[in-house]
């Protein structure tokens, strides 16, 4: 089935089998392999991407269901070769080891901080509890999000400070 997607700001058209997941479409049709697949049943969160502004598990969505949607993956998180503020914070706070959960963590975190730039530690732990990491014990990831919040602060909140 012909499917049109807006991926990281680019319009792409793919011809896919109806049973192909959006995760596999991104990875194997569009070669955007930054999105990882850890469980294929929606628990681990490694495949999380942003679809029309919402954090979504791309292993639980069929590519054809995303027809016309606007999609952001880890490859579109920062422009060019530079790290964005969230990525920089992950590096500074050692928020990753093997890196496999990292793209899903980043995308869930990006969606959260865009919507709630002042999210508390408890809120961060609650929202990201759907993303599993086996290496870090999560401590560095939480610190990274807390640190990155200021970069997401809305103009009026900045002024308030």
């Amino acid at each position: 089935m012909r499917t049109t997607l807006h991926v990281n700001g680019k319009l792409v058209e793919v011809d896919v089998e109806p049973r192909l997941t959006l995760a596999d479409c991104l990875r194997h049709e569009l070669r955007l392999t930054g999105t990882h697949v850890g469980c294929e049943h929606g628990v681990c969160g490694a495949c999380t991407i942003i679809v029309d502004g919402q954090a979504v598990r791309s292993c639980l969505v069929l590519a054809v269901q995303a027809d016309g949607a606007s999609i952001q993956t880890v490859e579109g998180l920062a422009g060019g070769d530079a790290l964005g503020p969230l990525q920089t914070a992950f590096r500074r706070h050692h928020g990753l080891q093997c890196g496999f959960c990292t793209p899903g963590m980043l995308m869930t975190a990006h969606a959260l901080l865009q919507a709630e730039p002042e999210a508390s530690e408890a809120r961060i732990r609650e929202v990201l509890s759907g993303n599993l990491c086996r290496c870090t014990g999560y401590v560095g990831i939480v610190k990274a999000l807390l640190d990155a919040r200021s970069a997401y602060a809305r103009p009026h909140t900045r002024e308030a400070r």
């Binding site: 955007l32 392999t33 990882h36 490694a46 880890v74 890196g99 609650e126 509890s129 290496c135 990831i141």
Partner: protein, 771 residues
Amino acid sequence: MSRPDAYIGKPIERLEDLRFLRGRGQYVDDLECAGALHAVVVRSAVAHGRIRSIDTAAARTLPGVHAVFTATDLGAKVPVIPVRSESQPSLDQAVQPVLAHGKVRYVGEPVAFVVAETAALAEDAADAVTVDIDPLRAVIDRAGAEAGDVLLFEHSATNTAGRFTGVRGDAAKAFAAAPYVRRERFRVQRYAPVPLETRGLLARWDAHAERLTLAGAAKVPFWVRSVLAAMMALPEQCVDVIETDIGGGFGARGEFFPEDFLVAFAARRLGRPVKWIEDRREHFLSTAHAREVDCELEIACRRDGVILALRGQAWTNAGAYIRPNVASAPRNIAQMGAGPYRIADLHMEVSVLLSNKTPTGSYRGPGRFEIDFCRERLIDLACADLGLDRAEMRRRNLLTDAEMPHALPIVLPHGKGGELDSGDYRVTFDRCLAEIRWDEKASLQGRLIDGRYHGLAIGCYVEGGAIGPRENARLVLDSEGMVTVYVGTSALGQGQETVFAQIAADALGIPIEHVKDVFHGSTTCVEEGFGSFGSRASVMGGCAIAAAAEKLKDSIREAAAARFGCPVSAIEIIEGMRAVRAGELQLPLHELAGRELAAEGTFAAEKRTYSYGAHAAHVAVDPRTGQVEVLEYVAVEDVGRILNPSTLHGQALGAIVQGLGGSLLEELIYDEHGQLLTASLASYLLPSMDDYPDIRAVALELYPSPLNPLGAKGGGEGGIIPVGGVIANAVACALGDLGVQPFELPLSPPRVWQLIEDARGSRRQAQRTAR
């Protein structure tokens, strides 16, 4: 001319993060390979049975299917996977064939291998394979294995595949004379490392060069190469085993599994690249499980708390086959019972039992986690019996600097011993007491506050590391003055590239930016490599790199001496290895060589390093639900020398949370037919971000290891080893007034609730009898 370390010991931000954070990691399923076929494994749905037939006819005719292999396609002799370490003849008798023939012995055992144009077509075809199995009764646990009426291997008279015995002094004599003894039965459940990336492989066969390349290896690629070459009747130099980015290992990933052969075999047979990616359900059924052990441990003490002896028996449930490193856990249980304590006499016999469950392997802190749990529980029980303070009794028995090196028990049948290398085990213990504010919190012990009982516990451990026999590294200096590092250890996410760049930069006296790249693991990096296990990579690989750096500097001096026509001793390397000088003569390095200069280095070690430390926890237990909340968890370790505090801290925290998962949440549950009931992440509960918010780890570098020039010790496993004992003792402390004494992990809400109910039940019973 050597400068002080500029990088070692500093929290250098990781070099590998730059690709991981941008989605540019190259894990095995990310590799692009034109024309690759896709494979799916058909697995047994029956735990134990005789194969009547495997009908592949329908599958073979499906569109896009290239082959369906069964054991009969593999030649007269189906290859078996050898034992990698500490084998025994009886263990070798129970190794796994790469495809089942005659019998199946666990749910998930490979029985056929389907190769098709796409993964989806291969899955369709796998569904069309009909496997007819005549079921036999399944052996599940120790009782079933020891009964022996059902045998996994009929040629053997027993399901006991091997035995390891740890011996020091004369335990029988010590027990006979001891004023106090206590014996208890313990059990640690079956659980598994569960790395977030499942296994995967990509094999290419170059028919013209008769050369095989297998990507997706981890942990021990050189060993995998030697096994694979033997199975495929190829010279080792015709097999390249390539390490890609790896999504976590923790001991399970990277050993030789059936698919390592099957994917390579299919690529060679079909003349096309073949890719196989494990799915999560397959991972739970086929990648190594760990930990499951029943243990009876007995302690002998003086009434003042001095521990005299330990003895006991343990039975590890190895699963259906003896996989390559099934031995590490039973071996360590046999040897490491005394942990960091001064216990003169020890006798520990560990039997390795076969069952119709997934074969087991190593998991971070193998055997050490299990025996630490048993010993630390027993120490708390002895303290209660003898009316001793739990902290004081431990402190009295911890080994001190004056007693180093300290000989470890000998492990039979191999007769290997070893020794604890350096440290004062009271120091980390005292620091841990201070960190958790032990004295301040003493009044909380057993108290009911807002409906929850509070408990406190502390436990100790030693962590073996830097396992030999040796490691190799190669440094290449290019004409731009940049250095590339090649090393035989593997990276599994620990930050090896960063730590090795730090070591290389300091050893050569160059800016870290002049380390162009660090290549590791693959058989193409060095002639001979040993990989990453037993907390060895940083120390062994790092020391090999430091040795190579010295040789590289020698080569530079020799080249300069020849150029200047002066003795080598007159040559000085200056300006961060940018130039060489002899008296008035000076030359930029790139003009000296005009080509690459390379040097190799080796580091060999016969003895292991031993990091050590203490952990403490403060928990609250809700008696209505059995829920255990970890209010505070503190770990203190001495690793000899800290190479990168940031990555070390990450190892400690990650290991603690894995230990908490194993102590409180995780369990691979089988039914009586040998069906795994927890084969998804929806039914197997892993720690998530909101489970354990308050954990801390402190690393010290007080007693460097005398065994290597860096003074470093292994640091990847200490975080997990004492967690089970600490958590169980904290729960026992909290529920002391209710009479609850946990002897089995995990302390999941249903188990804790049941323990409380049982304790209340027996109290009521006792009251009735008293009336």
